[in-house]
């Protein structure tokens, strides 16, 4: 088998280096958030960058036991007590375009808008309207807008944007996200940016590629899932969860009533 290659970690007897830094130095001097930044970038963050990544990770870590990710983790914790990793993984598996994954999609939206501005010199407003109109024509949803609980405003958005402004790190990404929000309100219906849209804007300004929008959500949420699984084990009995279900399908019927089976069974 060919050797795999990697530019992330170099580990061997007695040494572990992450992107060239000795893990022992990092253990003594860096924060976990620094390491997360480093793993997805090629350097350690500045203080301002660190604050933004901390804020994002904290903002997405947990939104209550009933969120799909938390609920799935609890169902697995309830039926499969022997494996903590299985329960956390079950929670992660609910994360996709529809739950927790909009950050990546919104980063692509922002990137395409910024590319348009660069290529044809259109203004921020015009480029944002262009992006919204295209989504409208395609009938596709705009990732990063609207929240089923925080329908009026997602309170995390202004806080994250204020932190980005304070540290001078809010640039075209944040500006474009705000222009998108205006364009959505004018061309479709008022629909506020949600935390996924806000973290997308900030991550674009920090220089990350679109997949990081979803990966950073995953990293943050796993902290919450871990706590949810621990609480399920600590406070609840196994198999306590019952979901009420109503059957509305085909009425009871004998197997013989199906002509195929009758004949099949005689063969």
């Amino acid at each position: 088998m060919d050797t795999w290659r990697t530019a992330i970690v170099d580990a061997g007897p007695g040494h572990i280096r992450v992107k060239g830094y000795d893990v022992l130095d990092l253990m003594q001097r860096a924060s976990f958030t620094d390491l997360i930044f480093l793993l997805h970038h090629n350097r350690l963050p500045t203080a301002g960058e660190r604050r933004l990544i901390d804020a994002i990770l904290i903002g997405v870590a947990d939104h209550g036991a009933g969120a799909p990710s938390c609920a799935a983790a609890r169902l697995a914790a309830s039926g499969n007590r022997a494996s903590l990793s299985a329960a956390v993984a079950a929670g992660l598996l609910t994360i996709g375009d529809e739950h927790g994954g909009a950050g990546s999609g919104c980063m692509e939206l922002i990137a395409s808008g910024l590319a348009r501005m660069a290529s044809d010199g259109s203004s921020l407003t015009a480029a944002a309207r262009g992006v919204v109109n295209e989504a409208k024509v395609r009938g596709s949803r705009l990732p990063g807008f609207g929240h089923r609980v925080h329908s009026a405003t997602d309170p995390r958005v202004p806080v994250l944007f204020a932190l980005a402004e304070e540290s001078g790190l809010a640039r075209d990404g944040v500006r474009f996200a705000r222009a998108l929000e205006d364009a959505v309100g004018e061309l479709i219906t008022p629909l506020p940016l949600n935390i996924d849209g806000a973290l997308a804007a900030v991550l674009v300004d920090l220089g990350f590629p679109p997949p990081v929008g979803r990966l950073i959500f995953i990293i943050g949420r796993v902290a919450g899932l871990s706590a949810e699984v621990l609480e399920e084990h600590t406070r609840e009995k196994p198999m306590r969860i019952k979901i009420p279900v109503t059957y509305d399908g085909v009425a009871a019927r004998p197997v013989g009533a199906d002509p195929c089976v009758g004949s099949n069974r005689e063969e």
Copy 2:
């Protein structure tokens, strides 16, 4: 919480019915393959339909311990012995567009080609060429063609198609898949249908929607993954797997060399 609705299973104290059939009758008279068909359809299969589903499930169940799905299941079985379900699940998670999932994509291709024939009256050959040309223009891969091991011919394809012909169940789906194979050879390069492409053709002819192409692969492969996990537990020591890795990233550097960290750490 609202009650969920379902048209699959009605279970309550003392009874379980699958699509209206008493599970006790099914246990006595049906095969597991019959049940699989029933769960994804609204009736039990005929003998010919059953043979095709059996052949598909057998054909995809296992392709050797080194396939991505089997290898991932073995890695999980090796590190996390306490949870058999976690190991099988790790294997399933490798299944997607690039591994085991081409059946769904190919069913969509076939469906679009058949829709074109119905709407504009184009011939089988013309419709297949149209589908291939569109993929060529988009630069997208054609799901269901080519196999990294069976590069000349996937031996399972002619066997599955012969079974479909024998039972009179090979219809437009099979015909269109063959026309696609010809068009690929003419317009791109000779690239044989693989088992995913063949099962796609058959499942279209049996009336299943595209997602079933991937789901049937999942159902078949889980039988193989189960055996792979059992063999790993039975024959191997935990943590025996070592993947050789070469690091080709940033050279070793002191944390202080990064100006950001120095200053951050003093704040």
Copy 3:
């Protein structure tokens, strides 16, 4: 890297053999259930054995959309539409000692009882009473007994045992499971065998090792999970599931109220 070894599948350009059988022959002549038996054994099943494995797989495939496995699969299908395998895997991850996994534990119980009979010549009744008393002393649950829905009788049990009797395949495993059920009733409380206990007894009689008790449940259930995921995609909107939650933890408090944080934040 060392080559891995396997005794399951031999696959190379143009050929795939499962335990020595050409997959092309199996596709034409065997059922999926035959293959499942073969993958976990070293031979194909007899007609009687096949009927029992079919009955087990059908019996465990699905118990309604609200079972933990099905509910977790639906939550993942609801939030992460792009990956069918992730949704099925999320369902599998709920399977463990407490849900769907009792078959393995019960097979170990039966095996230990049969070993006791063989070593000290104790009677079926005495050995069963011994096993139950030991569990009572340890305060451990008896896997394979009781069901939260079928509290009086699990209707699948007598059907499976009758099939085993009819085909002459009910041996010491089935006899011991019945003796265990009697001993539980006498020494603890009447608690009926459930499907996991019944399949355990049958699988012992068919010569399978304990892990197969859980693996066969996994294989059967994945068919149900597949159908549940397909129904969620087909009938429901993404993110439709809301689990009601009541918070009963620490009251709202300012971050400053925690002395640690105040001081930390000043550093």
Copy 4:
């Protein structure tokens, strides 16, 4: 359905509170590591506690692309590109008693030793020897000792213990772990504490229950898995991974050679 209860997060329109703290305050003032501490405790950490948790999370985040967790994540990233969460989850599923999970087991070992000291007044040395002798008698492995790469010394252990000493947080847990290491060397064979054993000692001293030993590994490792998955997508082609396999099972045989199948197929 009954409402679920939770003491972790209270979220509703316009507000999210974690253990009573407004998430907006935390986003502005806390670090992600503070939040991780808070989620598994009932308060925010001191500066010294934060440093230890940071060091642990950094120490376990990644050990190279060939570790079972990273390799499984890459296999899933390679076959199932559409779902980042599935790839990260596949990596997590390899974590168990044998890989990354020893922290929990070692915390239980330390807790049982400390309980023995408290109950019968035995000395640190005697209690550690007692624990080791019991494991020796049972023939069970001692979780937290030995490492397949760092066979002489795991370099992360002295660094973590030094940080604990410096901040005055090294207490009975760290002392007992060291006594265990001595007892292992005397009674079995010299086998150094590994990072799992060291983090177990520190987490006991910080007041966490045993499951947190594994959960903290999961939280740290997910950061590494995320980077591994991103690298696989960025640098490698889908399906590039080939594991070499040697078949050593039953020789090729015709299906007819099995008497059961011949007869079955005629029935």
